[in-house]
């Protein structure tokens, strides 16, 4: 291999769809998706550990839930990212969000954005999850406030709502 080929490419333009919106950012290889998203203003993506232990930074990458702190921005190039804000808001709340509000599943709220994204991935995967499935699906998302129980019940309620929406549509 020639010197030229191995020459360090320090920066690269990365195109990412974030919540349906095209974004481009030029970053070096060592920047994480978490850093890039927050730099782009997506402060709803939280940081609790920067190494995969807490799940606060979870987002969907092409529909799969990942820890954005363990995802290099380069690896997200050309792919689409969904954060909790992309899931819905006050005017178009996702059933998971409605259920989290109604069940009181957020206390300090810091784990909530990541928790909801993990829950979304879980329901995409298993539309009628058992309690066991829910526990397994969330084991990478730490919550220190709630004891998780209201998070479980919100997910069960949201699953039910989604099922009903399915049958009526």
């Amino acid at each position: 291999m020639t010197d030229k080929e191995t020459q360090m490419i320090t920066e690269k333009r990365v195109d990412i769809q974030v919540n349906g919106q095209a974004c481009e950012i030029t970053v070096p290889a060592w920047r994480t998706l978490l850093e890039v998203l927050r730099e782009l203003g997506h402060k709803e993506v939280k940081c609790g550990c920067e190494k995969g232990d807490c799940g606060a930074c979870a987002v969907l990458l092409d529909g799969k839930v990942v820890d954005s702190c363990l995802t290099l921005a380069w690896n997200a190039a050309g792919r689409s990212v969904t954060t909790v804000q992309g899931l819905g808001g006050p005017d178009n709340a996702h059933p998971l969000q409605t259920a989290f509000i109604e069940h009181g599943s957020a206390q300090c709220g810091y784990c909530t954005p990541g928790m909801i994204m993990a829950a979304k991935a879980l329901l995409d995967d298993i539309p009628e999850p058992s309690l066991k499935d829910i526990k397994r699906g969330l084991s990478g998302n730490l919550c220190r406030c709630t004891g998780y129980t209201r998070i479980f019940s919100a997910i069960q309620a949201a699953a039910e709502t989604l099922r009903q929406q399915e049958t009526t549509s």
Binding site: G48, D53, G104, C108, G109, K135
Partner: protein
């Protein structure tokens, strides 16, 4: 400013329409939609990023700190060490926010000078263009240490001839309680039971690490927006850096979990210094590993109980020795030790009592406030001892408890008469009953049931002379504003004020806006600590709202020609109770008031009961405003081959006085069930020669979703508390009995008590082996 003597004034004819109901908290939507702002989310033009260099030695002289290479790095704006600091050379780490006297004057260096006393002590601060440069700068700071002998065990620290870390004798604080005649009590005893219990360091592990932003504004006011439980830190910041108090403004954002870890000042003073030095906005977000070093974990305690009991299970004498490891600086250790001392007999009446408690300095991490604040450690020993007594007597442990429970009207450890309801028995009985039938043991698993009761104070120590202010006002369109500097740390602190105000002024709580957590523009509320936020700010808010109600109703009474008592407020209407058709919209009522020049707002202050301290020789005196009582019960399955413990059911039953938001109360019980389970089973900060071995969330293990048992909250309401509508404080109390109930359940399952937390599989196996060998 109006002062209302009784919080009940003006609300005599109030029926509860919102209070006590499980309503949606006002802060829920923003958190769920991801729009809630936390301190680390803030940005400002020209903002610099900070980083902190923490010592990697536990006990050493700082021979030389050379920052020249760091300063020379492009993009670095300033590097500060102790040499650059103002002469005050210290920040107050005493009970924050207090206005009363009798402080312990526990100053701690802002940055280490000449000597480091614990591994993790801050040495230098950097502000740079971005976080990467700041990190790089840290690596360019050259430090020359000269290691000194360290002390890593509180008993070594107290031994004669030990090297001195603190004061003259390494004693950070000590208390004595002398009550009744202990000799006589032991003489009367049929049995004497003695056991020693130990607890470990516990890390708060809030999900949001410390974060703050500071800048100097156009009025030369130093602004800090922070993730803190205490906006009153602005005073300590000002004192530490030599500014007048009115030139520091501290605002608390939504806090991503505090649990006591954001009670004593953490990073605010560092940012203040950097902002002043760089004249730029500076933000610090601590990486998780440094967060572990930036606040104090729960104190490890060693607790010996020597209990004299009569054959029928009555405690005749009790001698208790408590020793806590304060670490290298005092922080709140003296107060935490006091809480442990007052809580040492749990919810039991003991007439012949000796307590000697001491907190010793070591070169370990300085420990500090954590939900439960010493009481929960002390309670663990007390409740473990109850089981051991029962075992010895062959009695049911609940029966032993019943024979000793403290009752309303009895004097507690310090001779304070308990005035509110004591529903320990009801709570424990209900919690245990809710566990239901025991599943049957299998060849390799043993099922155990355990219960623990507690007594935990709420509200500040009386000689802190605690008060809280709140402002409530109605706008011309009938919408309502609350202003309170209470911090919102996740338990629904601001939402509760909306709910209380909505109740009293008859508006839906989600239409009340609460401006909170601003040390400059919202009336000071004190801290969100000591389970006091709802008690204190709830009362102040209720008082202010009640006065506004009174003012509004007096105008309407004149308008309709009826008496105030004939009126009520609901759904943003004022109406005549007996003739609801005759009503007036709140907004019109406000216009009426405005036209008559009647105040549509009120600033109220609520003062907690005060006292002047305790007798140093006997420990007698009034220490706290009041106490909460309740119980937790647990069902566990212990794998007797591997020692693994699985919690199957976890039930909290508590007399909360009056639930303000039922769902929020249940949420506190559920959260504490799992946090207490972590303390009982898997959480442990391990230090080796003062160096943290478990300094990240992959080594320090808090319970995950897979660890969740069936959790249930049982809420009882005696309406006997000192809070609004008879509420008691609950944030810490609901946590106090959890670990003890699990420890007791494990003991029940395997027939032998494990006196040392956490109960790891390894300790279970060891205990079983010892039991086997003594057979």
């Amino acid at each position: 400013m109006n002062r209302i003597e009784s919080p009940a004034a003006g609300t005599a004819n109030l029926q509860l329409r919102q209070v006590g109901k499980p309503l949606v908290r006002t802060d829920s939507p923003t958190k769920v939609y991801g729009t809630a702002v936390y301190a680390g989310d803030l940005t400002m033009p020209g903002m610099l990023c900070a980083a902190v260099l923490h010592s990697d030695r536990a006990s050493a002289l700082l021979r030389h700190v050379d920052t020249s290479r760091a300063e020379a790095l492009a993009g670095v704006h300033c590097v500060l060490t102790a040499a650059d600091l103002p002469p005050s050379q210290g920040v107050m780490t005493d009970m924050p926010g207090q206005t009363g006297g009798l402080t312990k004057n526990t100053k701690q260096p802002i940055l280490a000078k000449d000597r480091v006393r614990f591994c993790g002590e801050p040495i230098a601060l950097v502000a740079a263009e971005n976080a990467a440069i700041a990190e790089q700068a840290l690596r360019l700071i050259d430090i020359e240490y000269e290691d000194l002998d360290g002390i890593y065990d509180p008993f070594d620290a107290l031994a004669p001839g030990a090297p001195i870390i603190f004061g003259d004798d390494n004693v950070v604080a000590s208390y004595k309680v002398r009550k009744g005649d202990i000799e006589k009590g032991f003489a009367e005893a049929d049995f004497i039971v003695e056991n020693t219990f130990t607890t470990q360091y516990q890390e708060q592990a809030f999900l949001e690490p410390e974060a703050a932003l500071a800048w100097v504004d156009e009025h030369e006011v130093l602004n800090i927006r922070s993730s803190t439980q205490v906006v009153e830190h602005y005073r300590a910041v000002a004192d530490a850096i030599g500014l007048p108090h009115n030139r520091v403004r501290l605002r608390a954002e939504f806090v991503g979990g505090g649990f006591g870890g954001k009670e004593v000042m953490t990073i605010e003073v560092w940012l203040a210094l950097l902002a002043l030095a760089s004249r730029r906005p500076v933000q610090l977000v601590q990486p998780r590993e440094r967060s572990f070093l930036s606040h104090g974990p729960r104190h490890p305690f060693t607790m010996t109980h020597r209990t004299g009991v009569s054959g029928d299970g009555k405690i005749t004498a009790l001698q208790i020795k408590l020793t806590s490891d304060a670490g290298a600086y005092a922080k709140l250790s003296p107060y935490i030790l006091l809480y442990a001392t007052v809580g040492a007999t749990g919810p039991y009446r003991v007439d012949n009592l000796h307590i000697d408690s001491v907190s010793a300095a070591t070169n370990n991490l300085p420990a500090c406030a954590f939900r439960g604040f010493g009481t929960m450690q002390a309670n663990l020993a007390c409740e473990g001892q109850m089981e051991e007594i029962a075992k010895l007597l062959g009695m049911d442990s609940m029966e032993v408890r019943r024979r000793n429970f403290i009752h309303t009207g009895d004097a507690n450890v310090t001779g304070q008469i308990i005035r509110s309801a004591v529903w320990s028995d009801q709570c424990a009985t209900q919690a245990l009953a809710t566990l239901g039938e025991r599943p049957t043991d299998t060849q390799t698993t043993r099922i155990g049931h355990g219960v623990a009761c507690y007594q935990q104070s709420y509200g500040r120590i009386r000689w802190m002379k605690d008060s809280s202010e709140a402002w409530v006002g109605v706008e011309m369109d009938g919408t309502v504003i609350v202003r309170s500097a209470v911090t919102d740390i996740g338990a629904g602190q601001s939402s509760a004020l909306a709910q209380i105000t909505g109740e009293i002024l008859g508006v839906p709580m989600d239409q009340v806006v609460v401006y909170f957590g601003d040390g400059a523009v919202t009336p000071l509320a004190g801290t969100s600590t000591a389970s006091r936020a709802l008690y204190m700010s709830g009362n102040a808010t209720k008082m202010a709202a009640s006065q506004v109600r009174k003012n509004l109703l007096s105008c309407v009474a004149g308008y309709f020609g009826v008496k105030i008592e004939q009126l009520d407020m609901c759904d943003s209407q004022v109406f005549i109770i007996d003739d609801p058709q005759r009503s007036i919209a709140l907004k019109d009522c406000v216009k009426l008031c405005a036209a008559e020049g009647v105040h549509r707002h009120n600033l109220a202050i609520f003062r907690a009961p005060t006292s002047e301290g305790i007798d140093p020789e006997t420990g007698q005196g009034e220490v706290f405003p009041d106490f909460t009582y309740g119980a937790h019960a647990a069902q566990v399955a212990v794998d007797i081959e591997t020692g693994e413990v699985k919690v199957l059911k976890s039930i909290g039953a508590h007399d909360v006085g009056q639930a303000i938001n039922l769902r929020a109360v249940e949420g506190q019980v559920e959260g504490s069930a799992l946090m207490g389970q972590g303390f009982a089973l898997c959480e442990e900060l391990i230090l080796k020669q003062g160096r943290l071995q478990t300094g990240s969330l992959s080594e320090y293990l808090i319970p995950t979703s897979e660890d969740v048992p069936e959790i249930k909250a049982i809420v009882l309401e005696s309406r006997s508390g000192l809070g609004p509508f008879g509420a008691k404080g609950i944030g810490e109390p609901v946590y106090a009995p959890v670990a003890a109930s699990i420890a007791n359940a494990v003991a029940d399952a395997i027939g032998v008590h494990i006196f040392e937390l956490p109960i790891t599989p390894e300790k279970v196996i060891k205990a079983l082996r010892e039991k086997e060998s003594t057979k």
